[in-house]
C-alpha cells in the first residue's frame, strides 16, 4: 500500500479528490451530503436537520422521483381492481400481432407470443411486486422492532429466548424457509405471501434494534424516566424507540429492496406468486426461453426489478447518511 499512498505528495494529504468526470458521471452515488451544513443563526430541530441532509443527497432524491413515477404509472396505467386506468389495452386480451411483436408505438413494450400487450402485463406484474415488497417491509419492520426492543430492554431470559429464536431463523437459508412458507401460502394470494415473507425476514433488524436498545437503556434519560416511575412499555415506546428511529427507518427501506428480490426469486423458482396472479419474477420465468427470439419479453421485467431495487437502495443510503452523518465526514 505504500506505493499507493506515496502518490500523495505530503503523505498527510487527505483532501477528498473529486475528479470532475467522476462527479458528473455518477454524482448519483454518494453525492451532496459531504458539504458541511452552513452555520446560520437559525436553529433546526433534529428532524429538520435530517430532512436537510437527505435532500442534499442527489442520488436519493433522483431515486425517490424515479420510484414515485414508477409507482404512479404502475398503478394508474391499468387501474387497480375495479377502477380503470388510462392505458387503453387490457392484459388479458390477445390483440393482432404487429410483425413478430417487437416494441412499436402502439405496443411500447412489445407483445408476447400470443399477442397480449406486454406493457399492460408488465405493469400488472410491477403492481403485485410493489405491493408485496412494501407489505413485507412493513411486516418485517414491525416484527423485528418488537423482538429487538423486547430482547434488548428486558435482557435475561426474554433476551435468551428471543435471540435463540432469531438464530433459528438465521440458520435456515432465507430462500429455503421462504420457499416452503411461500408454497404453503400460495393459495391465499399475494397478501398471504407478503405476510409469510415478512415473518421470515425480520431477523437482521431484530439484531440491529437489540444492539441499539442495549446501549440506549443505559443512558441517563432512561434512568430519569425510570426514577419518576414510568412504566416499561412507555419507556420503550416514548424514550427508547424514538432514539433508535434512524436505524429502524434505514433498515426498513433496505428490507423493501431485499423483499422485492426475494419475492421475484421465489416466483421465478415457482414457489412465490401463483397464477392467475403474476409478478415480475413470474414474467421472467415464463418468458426466459424467448430471450434469443423475443428479447424484449425478457428485458422489461428485469429492468423493472433492477430499477425498483436500485432506487430503494439509494433512498436507504441517503437516509443512512441523513441519520448518521458521521460516516460522510472526510477524515481529518
Amino acid at each position: 500500500m505504500s506505493d499507493i499512498r506515496n502518490s500523495n505528495p505530503g503523505g498527510e494529504d487527505y483532501e477528498p479528490q473529486i475528479s470532475a468526470s467522476g462527479t458528473d458521471a455518477v454524482g448519483l452515488a454518494a453525492g451532496g451530503s459531504a458539504a458541511p451544513l452552513p452555520t446560520e443563526d437559525k436553529s433546526y430541530s433534529q428532524g429538520q436537520l435530517v430532512a436537510r441532509r437527505f435532500f442534499r443527497h442527489r442520488g436519493a432524491i433522483t431515486s425517490m422521483i424515479v420510484l414515485g413515477l414508477l409507482v404512479v404509472v404502475a398503478f394508474t396505467s391499468i387501474g387497480v381492481g375495479p377502477i380503470p386506468g388510462w392505458w387503453p389495452k387490457d392484459y388479458t386480451l390477445q390483440y393482432d400481432k404487429i410483425g413478430d411483436g417487437a416494441p412499436t408505438w402502439e405496443y411500447p413494450f412489445g407483445q408476447d407470443t400470443g399477442g397480449k400487450d406486454y406493457f399492460a402485463l408488465v405493469m400488472r406484474g410491477t403492481q403485485f411486486s410493489l405491493i408485496i415488497a412494501f407489505s413485507v417491509g412493513i411486516v418485517s419492520t414491525i416484527v423485528g422492532t418488537v423482538v429487538g426492543a423486547l430482547a434488548g430492554f428486558y435482557r435475561g431470559w426474554v433476551e435468551s429466548v428471543l435471540m435463540r429464536v432469531t438464530d433459528v431463523f438465521i440458520i435456515i437459508p432465507l430462500l429455503a424457509v421462504a420457499a416452503v412458507l411461500g408454497r404453503m401460502a400460495g393459495d391465499s394470494g399475494i397478501w398471504g405471501l407478503a405476510l409469510v415473507l415478512g415473518l421470515v425476514t425480520w431477523t437482521s433488524l431484530a439484531r440491529l434494534v437489540r444492539g441499539e436498545v442495549l446501549s440506549l437503556r443505559e443512558r441517563d434519560f432512561v434512568l430519569a424516566a425510570r426514577a419518576v416511575g414510568t412504566g416499561a412499555w412507555r419507556i420503550i415506546t416514548r424514550h427508547v424507540l424514538p432514539s433508535a428511529v434512524g436505524v429502524i427507518i434505514v433498515s426498513a427501506t433496505l428490507s423493501i429492496s431485499s423483499a422485492i428480490l426475494l419475492e421475484t426469486s421465489l416466483s421465478y423458482l415457482g414457489f412465490g406468486v401463483q397464477p392467475p396472479d403474476t409478478s415480475l419474477g413470474t414474467l421472467i420465468h415464463d418468458y426466459q426461453a424467448a430471450f434469443s427470439t423475443r428479447p424484449w419479453l425478457f428485458w422489461w421485467p428485469g429492468i423493472m426489478i433492477l430499477t425498483i431495487a436500485l432506487c430503494v437502495n439509494f433512498i436507504g443510503d441517503g437516509l443512512r447518511d441523513a441519520f448518521d452523518p458521521r460516516q460522510n465526514r472526510t477524515k481529518d
Binding site: M1, S2, D3, I4, R5, N6, S7, N8, P9, G11, E12, P16, Q17, I18, S19, S21, G22, A25, V26, L28, A29, A30, R164, D167, V168, I170, I171, I172, P173, L175, A176, V177, A179, V180, L181, R183, M184, S204, L261, T264, S265, Y268, L269, G270, F271, G281, I284, H285, Q288, S292, F298, P301, G302, I305, A309, L310, N313, R326, Q327, K331
Partner: protein, 506 residues
Amino acid sequence: MLKFILRRIGVSALVLLGASFLMFILVINSGDPLKDLRESNAQNREQLMAQRAELLRLDDNPFERYWDWLTGVAGCFTGSCDLGVTINGVDVLGLTQQAAASSLRLITLATLLAIVVGVALGILTAIRQYSGFDYVVTFSAFLFFSLPVFWAATLLKEFAAIQYNNWIAVGQYAPTTIVVAALVVGFVLQAVLGGTRRRRLVTGVGAFAFVAVVLFVFNALDWWRNPTFGLGGVLLVSAAAGVLVTALVAGLRNRRVLYAALTTSVVGTVAYLAFAPLLVNQPSWLLLAGLFVLTLLVSAGIGAAWGGFARRQAMLVTGITGVITSILVVADILIANWSSFLGIKSRPISTIGSQTPNFTGDFWEQVLDMGTQILLPTVLLTLVSVATHSRYTRSSMLETLNQDYVRTARSKGLSEREVIVKHAFRNALIPITTIVAFDFAALIGGAVITEQVFGWKGMGALFQDGLNAVDPAPVMAFFLVTGIAAVVMNLVADLAYAALDPRIRR
C-alpha cells in the same frame, strides 16, 4: 479460549436442532404429497397411494417421523448414516454427497473470491473517498446488489459465454477493441493510484501503452488460442507478487522480509522445474494437495530462516508468496493445455451443467473443463457478494480512519502503510468478519437460483425437487448441509473475531 469455542458449538448445535425441527414440520405440511397420484388415471391408483403413504409414513405422527429422521442423522456419528429415501425410493445420502460436492465447490470459490476482491475494493475506496474511482465502485456495488440473480444469469450466459465462444473461434481482437480496453485500464489505474496531476498522467499513459502493446503482441502470436506462460513468466509474476506482498505487510525497507519473499519465488520456480515431469505425466488431486502442503512448509521455513527480528512478518509474507507461486504454477500448466482443450471442446465456456457430459481428456483438460463450467456461476455469485463486502469494508474503514488512535499513529510519524495496514485495517476487519459469515447464508440462497439457471445438479436441485414433491428427506438433507456449513462459517468468524479483538477472548 477452548471453553469459548465449546460453548459456541453447543449453542449452535441446539439452534441447529430447533431449526431442523421447524423445517421438518414446515416441509411436511407444505402441500399434498399424493397430489400427482390423486390426479392420475392409473388403474392401481389406490394401491400406489397406499404405497407412497407407507413409504413416506404419512399416517404416522409427525413427531415420530422427525425423531426417526433425527436418529438416522445421528447415526452419522457412529458411521451408519441414514438420511432417508426420496419419494421414488432413492437413497438420499448418495444424492447428497454428489450434490454437496458440486454446490460447496461453487459456494466456497465464490466466497473466497468475494472476500479478497470485496475487501480490497472496500479499502481502496475508503482511502480514496469521494474520488471518481470511489463513485464508480459505489455505483457498481449498488447496481450489483440490486440485480436479480436469475435475470443477470441469463444475460451472462448470452453475453459472456456465447459471445466469447464465438470470439474464441477466431481469437483475434479488433484494433478498436484493443484501444478501448487500454484506455479503460489506463483511466481506472490513474484513478486508483491518484497523486498529482503529472503523476496520474504518467500512470494513465504508461498503463495504456503497456496494455495496448501487450494485446497487439498477443494478437500477432495468436496467444488467445495457443497461450503460453512459461517458467520465466512464473518467476517474474511470482517475484512481483512477493515484492507487492512485502510492500503491503512489512514495507520494502525491511530487507530481510523482501529477500525472504524473493527467495520463496526462486525456490518455488526451481521446485516447479523439478516436479514438472511428475505434474505433467502423473497428475492427481492427491499430488497437488501434497505439493501444496509442501509449498506451505518450505515457504514458512524460508521465512523463519531469513526472518530474524521480523520472523512472524517474514513467515506471513513467504507463506502468501508461496501460495501465489503455486497458483501460478497450476495456471501455467493449465494455460499450456488450453489449445489442446480447445481442440476437444471448441466452445469452451458452457452454460449448462457442472461437467460436460461424456467429456474425455487427460487430467488437466478435465480440470479446465470443470473450470470453464464453474466460471459463470462463480462470477455471478461473486459479483453480488463483492458488492456487499466492498460497501461494508468501506464504511468500516472510514469509521476506523476517523478514530483518535489513527491520528495518534500518524502524529507519531508512522508511514501511511503502517497506519492503514496495522492500525486502521486490522480494526476495520472486526465487523467485516461477522458480515462475511452472514453473507455465506445469503450465498447459499443465491446458489440455489444460480444452479437452477445453469442447470447444475446441486443442492439447489435437491431442495427444489424435494419441495415440489413435498418430500421431506431431500429437503432436510439440503438443510443439513447448508445449516452445518453456516454454523461452521459462524464459528470461523467467531474465532477470527477472537483473534482480531482481544477484548472478547475469555
